[in-house]
Point group: C2
Chain length 225, copies 2
């Protein structure tokens, strides 16, 4: 108790001790275990529910039931319902940004960088469709600080796309590149609404459509054939 008060009077961002409310260690009490921790179980279940019914459409009891505990027990793991959404969306945004950065710096020419970026986002969207849905839908259910953080990360990710695009097509205006990036992300993120093909075929289709949308070169609306 006294320790908690001291922590709060110092600063929120500095962690004096490992606090189960804010750390993400796998395996609970087990030492080397990499089984998903309770927090991760909960976040994953919550993501599915949020994706299907929306953040405000899901009750705390629903989330509890989904992991076999009931209701208020969740407060042993998260400070609040808002905190769950916050961790979920900052998590996905960080993963996207870092993954995108990693794939583009390890690529030689701009075109393979773009290719890698598309492949990365396609794979991510297909693997985490629930997260994508929540990310698109419940961004504004976040508390102000979390929303700010997520927006920052998003901006950074789009920046990666913009830079890569402009290296592929020098002379493209920044606004144009940004709009193109948003459009292609929208294309790829459509996969949660679709889910008609098996993963391999879907991946290939999205990849090809994305590249064509970005690079196919003709000026008027329809091609010559």
């Amino acid at each position: 108790m006294i320790v908690n008060i001291l922590m709060l009077t110092l600063t929120n961002t500095v962690r004096l001790v490992s606090d189960p409310m804010t750390t993400n260690n796998p395996g609970g009490t087990g030492r080397g275990s990499n089984a998903p921790s309770r927090r991760e179980q909960i976040l994953s279940a919550a993501a599915e529910l949020f994706a299907r019914y929306g953040f405000h459409g899901v009750g705390i009891d629903d989330i509890g039931a989904a992991v076999g505990i009931s209701g208020p027990a969740l407060y042993r793991h998260f400070r609040s319902k808002d905190a769950m959404l916050g961790e979920m969306l900052t998590g996905i945004s960080e993963r996207l940004l870092h993954g995108g950065r990693a794939r583009t710096v390890n690529a030689g020419d701009p075109l393979t960088a773009l290719e890698a970026l598309v492949a990365w986002h396609v794979e991510f969207a297909l693997t985490n469709s629930a997260l994508i849905t929540v990310h698109l839908r419940d961004l504004d259910s976040l508390t102000e600080p979390d929303r700010h953080r997520v927006r920052e990360l998003q901006r950074g990710y789009v920046e990666v796309w913009v830079d890569t695009l402009r290296r592929c097509r020098p002379g493209t205006a920044e606004h144009t590149a940004r709009a193109s990036a948003h459009a292609v992300l929208g294309l790829i993120n459509s996969t949660p609404h679709s889910a008609l093909l098996d993963t391999a075929r879907m991946s290939e289709l999205l990849h090809r459509m994305a590249m064509n949308a970005l690079l196919a070169d003709h000026e008027d609306g329809h091609g010559t054939r």
Copy 2:
């Protein structure tokens, strides 16, 4: 009162009299006036709010305040908050479907039909970005019958796309065409998140990207130039 009871005992879908709760006449009491009726004012304001904060994030008082009246007065115009969302989303879905059908039947060859379809959706999305956002986000906040209706209309609209696509590229599997349609709709519907270019430039960009995504012809990921 007695009349209402009689109406309910008969059937819900048959309208015995013109009921302000379910009709959409413009101009209120004015006869030929085509100024937006109160209902339309309210729906439009509600659409903006729903787009920004989500259906559950907007209170009935907020909607009232947005049109200058306060709270429960809305119940003079709509049966419930759910009914507002219902009318809003069935409305947009019907407009999309009918507009899409109209543009494709009036086109000669498949390619110009597709072109017209793309142009139609781009124009619609740019003109009604709030509605698009709500449509993508709050579909599952609908009551069951409304959701069913909207899903039906959506299915029909996608069907128009699928048919047009398959006439452009015979031999395309239906599943593939459907997935492509969803992807391109996702691309075009990205415009509410973007809004960086002026309408003309944005329209042209989305149009070109959509056509390239659908028609550009090469098999592997990157083009030959």
